[in-house]
Amino acid sequence: MYLVRLVFLLLSLVTLGSALGVIFSRNILHSALFLILSFIGVAGIYILLEAPFLAAVQVFVYAGAIAVLIIFAIMLTRRLTGQGIRQLNEQRWVAAVAVVLLFAMLAFILSNTDWQISKEAPLEDAVNALGQGFLTTYVLPFEVAAVLLLAALVGAIVIAREE
C-alpha cells in the first residue's frame, strides 16, 4: 500500500518537476526535452490508474508525435530562441500570484469534496471493450474526431505552406 503511494509521489515529482523545467528553462530546446519527460511521467500515472492502453497512446502520440512536432518548430525558428533572449514577459509576478491562488482554491475544493467512489474493479478487457465502444456507442464522436484530424492536417499544410 505504501509502496504504491511512494510510486505515485515519485511519478508526481517527475511530472511536476519537469513541467516546471518546461516553464523556466532558458533554452527552449531544453523545455521541449523536459516536456517529453513530463509526458512520460503522465504515462506512468495512467499505468498506476490501471489504464495501460492510455499509457501506450500517451507515449505514442505525446512523447512521440507531438514532441517531434514541437522540436521541428523550434529548429525552424531557431535563430530567435537561443540562450541570451529573455524568455518570460513582465507579468510574471502577477501571473504567479494568480496561479498560486487558483491552485490553492482547486486543491482546497478537490480535497474537501466527498466523491462517490465505486468499489468495483475495472473492466478486465478494457482495450477490447474500448474498440467495441468506438464502433458502436461512441461511433459519432469517433467519426467527428476523424474529420477534426483531417481538417487540422489540411489546415496545417495550408497555413505553413510557402506562397
Binding site: 521541449a32 505525446y62 530567435l80 496561479v99 468495483e120 475495472p122
Partner: protein, 103 residues
Amino acid sequence: MDVPLSWYLVLAAALFCIGLYGVLVRRNAVGILMGIELMLNAVNVNLAAFWRYITPRVLIGQAFVIFGITVAAAEAAVGLALVIAIYRNRETINVDEIDLMRW
C-alpha cells in the same frame, strides 16, 4: 485504489496551474503551446482518475481521454503551423512583438 482519488486530482490541478503559468508568462509562441499541452495533459489525468474511481465498469472516461489526446494533436499541428507562418512573415515568434491586431 491504494492512492486516494484526491491525490490524483491535486496532481492534475498542479500540472494545470504550471501549464497555465507557462501560457501567461512565456514570450516564445512555442513555449505557450507547450504550456497548453501541459494543461490538456492535466485534464486527461483528471478524466482517467474519475474513470478509475467513479465509473470503472463504463469506459466513457477512457474514451474521453482518447478524444482529448486527438484534440491536443490537432491543436499542436495547427498551432505550430501558425508559428511557422508567423515566423516566415515577421521574423519573430515572441508574442509581445506580434501586436498587429492590438489597438
